[in-house]
């Protein structure tokens, strides 16, 4: 029998095991939280060093409140609120150096050539679009960048986004749409931006 475990179920299991003192679970949870916090911090700041510090801080706080954390809840909304507050603190103290493009950490993985739907040209086009998207995400305003990241990369629900950003639920959709439209505009007006060249639309 194949058991499919969702990310939330796996987190739940790890949290309970870590609480009971399982060293391996603590380590796995620490890595999982640090990675997630690092990625969001880097996407917000473009500063690897600051992101590493923020990730460690986030992981420490997570473990500090582990016994009080509801394991049925996803970790990200809680963690991202911590990361966002820390990024804002550091930015206020001018301790963030935005010197890297967000596409600096993109992983350019090649698909397996043996895959049935292997399409090198299509994959190259998608990789190019991804690169241009992440270059443009860095040019969004802070409120637009963070809401875009939370939904379109980290896949948080509107309710979770409202929690992270401390904004009304009704504001989420309008701000997110504005962010996406800005990004669409930044990607340019030419027909090639979404691989639509030669289409009849």
């Amino acid at each position: 029998m194949i058991t499919v475990m969702s990310a939330v179920d796996e987190d739940h299991r790890l949290i309970l095991a870590a609480r009971s003192g399982d060293a391996i679970a603590r380590e796995a949870l620490g890595r999982r939280v640090s990675r997630s916090a690092y990625l969001f911090a880097f996407q917000l700041t473009g500063d690897r060093e600051a992101s590493r510090d923020i990730a460690q801080d986030g992981a420490l706080r997570f473990f500090r409140y582990l016994d009080r954390f509801d394991p049925a809840r996803p970790i990200e909304p809680w963690l991202f609120q911590i990361v966002r507050n820390r990024v804002r603190d550091l930015a206020r103290r001018a301790q963030i150096r935005r010197h890297e493009s967000l596409d600096a950490l993109l992983e350019h993985r090649r698909p397996e050539p043996a895959a049935a739907d292997h399409d090198p040209a299509g994959e190259a086009e998608r990789a190019d679009l991804r690169q241009r998207i992440w270059q443009s995400v860095a040019r969004l305003s802070d409120p637009h960048r963070e809401i875009f990241l939370l939904r379109d990369f980290h896949h948080l629900s509107y309710g979770e986004i409202a929690e992270v950003l401390s904004i009304p639920l009704g504001t989420v959709m309008s701000r997110l749409h504005a962010a996406r439209m800005n990004l669409r505009a930044l990607l340019g007006d030419d027909e090639r931006r979404f691989g639509r060249e030669g289409s009849d639309r």
């Binding site: 380590e27 706080r61 379109d152 990369f153 979404f194």
Partner: protein
């Protein structure tokens, strides 16, 4: 409004793509997209952006590169207690030196200045760590969270 003069709240397109609309609103958007080429194009572009963004993979540091692992409760208590005792020791020694210099000016030697400067610098570093720690506690919105 999409800007081309027709009455439609374009924001709903995002809610539709995210599956966050009520059934009634989702149906309204679906019907509108069938009729409106401009909004359909926006929806297609946003969908393409969403898919490209969601399928992006980022490199993160190797697990071995995390300098500091989350500490357990005992480690944290020992660390905090050590920091507190160290701070008290620095303050005590500094106060003793100041008192010694003030009460007996002849003991004001070059060695005193060196030791005092060293302790003062050390004390400031410890103080900065304490201030940071207090600030972190104050800015944590989950500090009082109970299960």
């Amino acid at each position: 409004m999409t800007g081309d003069g027709h009455e439609f709240d374009e924001v709903l397109i995002s809610g539709y793509l995210d599956g966050e609309l009520t059934q009634q609103d989702a149906q309204r958007v679906r019907l509108h997209l069938e009729d409106c080429a401009g909004c359909r194009r926006i929806a297609d572009d946003l969908r393409t952006m969403k898919e490209a963004t969601l399928t992006t993979r980022f490199r993160v540091p190797e697990d071995t590169q995390w300098d500091e692992r989350p500490r357990g409760a005992v480690s944290r208590i020992l660390h905090d207690a050590g920091l507190l005792i160290l701070a008290a020791w620095v303050v005590g020694i500094a106060a003793y030196l100041v008192w010694g210099i003030a009460s007996d000016a002849e003991s004001f030697t070059f060695e005193n200045v060196l030791v005092f400067g060293l302790l003062l610098a050390f004390g400031l570093v410890v103080l900065s760590a304490l201030v940071d720690r207090l600030r972190v506690r104050e800015s944590d919105p989950y500090r009082k969270v109970r299960k």
